[in-house]
Amino acid sequence: MPAQVTQISAVTAAAAHVLCLAGLAAAHALAGRGALVSNPALALRLLVVCEAPVVIAVFSYLRRDRKSCSFIKAAARGLIGLPVGALLNAFGAIVLGAPVGIKYWTVTIYWSLLMSLFTFVPAACVFGASKIDWQNVLSHSMYVLDFYFTPTDADNYIISVPCHGAVLGAWLGAWPMPLDWERPWQEWPICVTYGAVAGYLVGMAVSLVLIAVHKRRVRAKSD
């Protein structure tokens, strides 16, 4: 539904991102500085607890099929999507080499819940079971260069770009782990979380820029 799609204005997108950011900031304020290094499980738990309601609420509000689906239903999709996305993220992380020892289980679970909030839950809330939308968003991820350098749907940006940012940030965040600096933050999943959050923030900013550019282009075209 292209008409509906363009309804998400730049202001709405910015508001959504600010709310998500507020969730992260609240968690940071509650945990205190350096909590991620000193007590990763606690910090990750706080992040998940603060971010989950915000993300689910915001993206359920932005759900795509407004007529057929109520806010509550979209939120329920998000709630189901949270553990499913966490499973997918945990699978990815473990395949990429995350440790599987028992002492890492709690942090891995919290980390993958957080990654699920960054990646899977927004899409689950917005798209629901719509195959076409999922396929679209995945194929956008497959043709990265085209996605960023040629115009596409504006509200794909609001979901995909922070998600790409989080995944790319987490992926890059894992690189310092094998270095022999013997710093506490090189432990799994601390630097990966730092990378993911940083990538998510950058992704939000980039998505806003892209949406603004896109709106201007659409306006210029319609003029």
Partner: protein, 975 residues
């Protein structure tokens, strides 16, 4: 176009080989060494004749040899007993201070006895500079032989660690000294038969700082009262371990130094009891340590090792103990040799330390210098072939004194003739009464000798370590050029391909866009190249490869999911897929009628298998350098019952045999050759099983005739059946198929049938290669590696199946590179690291009854590069099942064209990737040539990179030759 590509490729490879050999020659110079041991001839002036014309002297019994040496040398031995105490990793700074200042108060107080000896002028200490690599074994060799070994000496010395060059300990042993060694077992590895009594401690448990030293000191009570030994070697490892754990400023450091001081006090007390004072106590360290306690590089902190001498000949009335007395570590060898009356080791480049000879007369002192000069002169003659002393002296007289000689020969000549002339004149002066004049002459002679010795020593040591910069630059440029050639070839190939695609109006117009996996491969290779600049990433390369490979396959997974979603959405795509499914006649899954849903399921499963198997392989060996002690599956299996490992091996062998039978079944060829190969494979598998069962837990008996003959039988059967398969397989498949193909009525049936025959034969060859290769690996690899091998094998097959199930999903070059990534990840998954220590030497002697460096070298290569070579062999299977669109739409039947299409990319891309890695790593090595870890981290990795290059050449040539042979036979048959 095919011929041009081939020529360019060959040119690039030749350039690469030339560049690589130039670089190796420049970076790892192999210095000429003298063989054999110095004897009585070293007390005579070296003659001008060829160096190797040494008259064989009869081996004398120790006592006669001792008196002979004493007679010809003209110097009585200064000491009879030697206590050589090595404190591993002790920086000289801790004892002697730095830059003329005494060490810190804390350090002074932690070694009270040693400091009192220094202050009382009863000991003399040197900052003896150690040459890199500052690790224990090469440093011990340098101390006892006075020679600086090249890097390759260490690297290629895999088969025996025993030290065979001329050295001090062997010389002492030859004249009847009895040797006792307590401490680091490196000494026992170096001199396995030399010591009358020995107790080796291992430096394996770096965390242990007390036990290692207690195990040495517990013998002291006994050994110090024992009178039978005359050389006692003590090697304390604790201080090095303290450094590794806590660095220089560790809290344990002062305590450990107190302990060492106590040992020095005890030994010195005992040597004082001996009234004649014939005991020399030498306290040395093999290397220093950085602030963080590491060593291996060439910084001042690491090379600043200690040489402290305590004995009667160093006592003097006045001294300033904290002067920065510089020496070289190699100086120990000639000094001790002359003090104990043995010939100086042949390859020594050290210069004797003057303060140790205070008790000798001036004449004797000059004689020691003369002996040292003669020995170094012999070594110089080996390095500069035409160098001759007499000619040199004669020419010197005629030319007069040239102050700035240009050539090295002239310069050496100049120093040498000056030294000998002044020695001569001091001799003449001896009879005169003027003591002051005599002292003056002696002083001049000593100065001249040292001038020569220091100059020659420096020149010789630079010969061993200097690197010709311009040679290295030009070698790197050659490699870069070759890399550019390959890049150009590949890019022209792609250009041609996209043109032909445009011509054919291929339905896959999507292919013009950049996919995520393609972008990722480029970024991944770039990141890998960047990571090579960091020593940590080189040490822990297994993480990099596993990370890149898993990420690539995760992207494949997402792509598969996406295409599944797409497939269920659009009917158009399904039709296209269905068409290609019909057109595709030969592949694993498509031999059965598959519904699209099932195909999707298989595609998903194959990627998941690769991913999960990759994770298990990663967990099998921890690998790397820094965290190698972390728990992993192989360590827990090693602790478990041996029968578990054995049953895992059995399972792997059986699985490989079953898979081969299944794949031959799929081929549906009932030829005699196929059945014969099948039987020979089964018998080989049984032989491997037999070998596994024969090998008992007790591996201390490596030479078991039964197992050796089993392995030999295996080699014979395997080689015969592989070569017969390769030769016969193009002949057995029909050129014209009986089956008609209803679906592809638009294309000419003859061509399709043709390509099927060639495909089947390549498939048979490829599958035979890879299956026999698996069995060979199961035979040779350590038992613990059986399951990882099977997993790599599964990964190979899953990838091939995945690629053949949907040919439009990934481009061909992505598939080839993905397989190469798998090979590299598997290489590290089998427990290989970038340190030479992880090479499996034990497996290199399986089935080799007599010692042969070449055979064991080949076997070692096969073991180390098992995984990349398996993937190269798998590439043959892959090209036999891959997309045939290009071939079937070709109008004319040209087999050379088919072969060209088949093998160009699978051959070129590995070459290109390897060339990129090689060139970039060469550049890194060139930039890092003065880095701390150049010898400990970067150079071993360079040897691995070279071996990987060889591995690529081997793999690519197997692929190319098989395909060309098959194509040639088919074109012959169609004619």
């Amino acid at each position: 176009m095919g011929a041009a590509v081939a020529w360019w490729t060959v040119a690039a490879v030749l350039l690469q080989v030339a560049g690589l050999s130039l670089f190796l020659y420049g970076f790892f110079p192999v210095k000429p060494t003298l063989h054999g041991f110095s004897g009585a001839e070293s007390y005579r002036m070296p003659s001008c004749g060829p160096v190797n014309a040494v008259e064989q002297e009869p081996a004398l019994p120790p006592n006669q040899l001792r008196s002979l040496y004493r007679e010809v040398s003209g110097i009585p031995p200064v000491y009879d007993r030697l206590v050589l105490m090595v404190i591993d990793g002790l920086p000289a700074e801790f004892v002697l201070g730095r830059g003329g200042n005494p060490p810190s108060k804390e350090m002074m107080e932690s070694m009270p006895y040693t400091q009192s000896l220094l202050a009382g002028c009863k000991a003399t200490g040197y900052h003896s500079k150690a040459a890199p690599p500052t690790v224990t074994m090469p440093r011990l060799k340098a101390m006892v032989s006075g020679a600086i070994g090249g890097f390759l000496d260490v690297a290629f010395n895999f088969n025996t660690q025993a030290f065979l060059e001329d050295n001090l300990l062997d010389q002492l042993h030859m004249i009847g000294h009895k040797l006792v060694m307590l401490g680091d077992e490196t000494w026992i590895k170096l001199f396995p038969t030399l010591f009358a009594r020995q107790d080796g401690v291992s430096s394996f448990y770096v965390r242990d700082t007390t036990e290692v030293d207690f195990n040495v000191s517990r013998h002291l009570d006994f050994e110090l009262v024992a009178k039978d030994w005359s050389v006692l070697v003590l090697h304390y490892l604790g201080l090095d371990h303290v450094g590794h754990i806590g660095g220089r400023r560790s809290v344990l450091m002062t305590q450990k130094m107190k302990e060492m001081d106590d040992v020095i006090r005890r030994v010195h007390d005992v040597s004082l009891q001996d009234n004649l004072e014939r005991t020399l106590l030498v306290v040395v360290s093999d290397h220093g340590m950085t602030e963080g306690g590491n060593h291996g590089g060439s910084s001042y902190e690491e090379t600043d090792s200690l040489a402290l001498f305590i004995g009667h000949s160093v006592q003097r009335p006045h001294c300033s103990p904290y002067d920065q007395n510089e020496a070289l570590q190699v100086d120990l060898a000639p000094t001790l040799a002359l003090l104990f009356g043995v010939p100086i080791p042949k390859n020594n480049i050290g210069v004797l330390l003057p303060e140790l000879f205070n008790s000798l007369t001036d004449d004797q002192k000059l004689r020691t210098l003369e002996l040292n000069s003669w020995q170094i002169l012999r070594l110089l003659q080996a390095q500069i072939p035409a160098f001759c002393l007499e000619e040199c002296i004669n020419s010197e007289d005629s030319l007069g004194i040239d102050i700035h000689p240009e050539y090295i020969e002239k310069k050496i000549c100049h120093f040498l003739s000056k030294a000998f002339a002044s020695h001569q004149s001091s001799r003449l002066q001896q009879s005169s009464d003027f003591k002051s004049a005599e002292a003056l002459y002696v002083g001049t002679a000593v100065d001249n000798y040292y001038g020569f010795l220091r100059y020659a020593s420096e020149w010789l040591s630079h010969r061993a370590t200097d690197k010709p910069f311009y040679l290295l630059i030009s070698a790197t440029l050659l490699m870069t050029l070759s890399c550019l050639f390959l890049m150009g070839t590949v890019s022209s190939l792609f250009k041609g391909q996209s043109l032909s695609q445009a011509y054919h109006q291929s339905e896959s117009h999507l292919d013009q866009r950049w996919h995520l996996d393609e972008v990722f491969i480029l970024i991944g290779i770039f990141l890998y190249v960047i990571s090579l600049c960091s020593s940590s990433f080189v040490e822990e390369e297994q993480y990099t490869w596993n990370f890149l490979t898993s990420t690539l396959y995760l992207i494949f997974l997402i792509k598969t999911v996406q295409s599944m979603l797409k497939g269920s959405n659009s009917t158009l795509v399904r039709r296209v897929e269905g068409k290609s499914f019909d057109a595709n006649n030969f592949s694993y899954a498509t031999n059965y009628e598959l519904t699209p849903g099932k195909r999707d399921g298989y595609r998903l499963c194959t990627v998941l298998i690769v991913l999960i198997a990759g994770r298990v392989i990663r967990a099998w060996h921890q690998g790397g350098i820094n965290w190698v002690h972390f728990p992993d599956i192989s360590k827990s299996l090693a602790q478990a019952d041996f029968s578990i490992v054995k049953s895992l091996q059995t399972i792997s062998v059986l699985a490989v045999m079953t898979l081969y039978s299944v794949s031959l079944k799929l081929l549906r060829a009932k030829s005699k050759v196929v059945i014969g190969v099948w039987w020979s494979h089964i018998s080989c598998g049984l032989l491997v099983l037999l070998h596994i069962w024969e090998n008992q837990i007790n591996t201390s008996l490596p030479i078991n005739h039964n197992t050796t003959s089993i392995a030999k039988l295996f080699y014979a059967i395997a080689s015969v059946s592989i070569s017969s398969t390769v030769l016969a397989s193009p002949w057995i498949f029909p050129i014209y198929s009986m089956e008609a193909k209803p679906a592809s009525s638009d294309s000419n049936p003859v061509k399709d049938i043709d390509s099927r025959g060639i495909r089947n034969s390549v498939f048979l060859t490829g599958i035979t290669y890879i299956m026999f290769w698996c069995l060979l690996q199961l035979l040779l690899q350590q038992p613990i590696n059986a399951i990882p091998l099977l997993l790599i094998f599964l990964q190979t097959f899953s990838s091939i199946a995945h690629f053949s199930l949907d040919k439009t999903l990934h481009k061909q070059w992505v598939q080839v590179i993905a397989m190469q990534f798998l090979g590299m990840a598997g290489h590290f998954g089998l427990g290989n690291t970038n340190s030479l220590a992880s090479i499996d030497v034990a497996g290199a002697f399986i089935g080799v009854s007599s010692y042969s460096t070449v055979l064991s070298g080949i076997l070692m290569f096969i073991i180390t590069y098992g995984s990349p070579l398996m993937l190269y062999l798998g590439m043959l299977v892959y090209i036999s099942v891959k997309d045939s669109d290009d071939i079937s739409t070709q109008r004319q039947l040209k087999l050379s064209y088919i072969v060209d299409k088949m093998v160009t990319l699978p051959c070129l891309l590995p070459l290109l990737i390897n060339s990129v890695a090689l060139t970039s790593y060469t550049t890194v090595l060139l930039l890092m040539r003065n880095h701390l870890f150049v010898w400990s981290v970067f150079s071993p990795k360079y040897l691995y990179v070279c071996a990987a290059t060889v591995c690529t050449y081997v793999g690519v040539s197997i692929i190319a030759m098989t395909a060309v042979y098959t194509g040639a036979v088919f074109s012959f048959r169609t004619r």
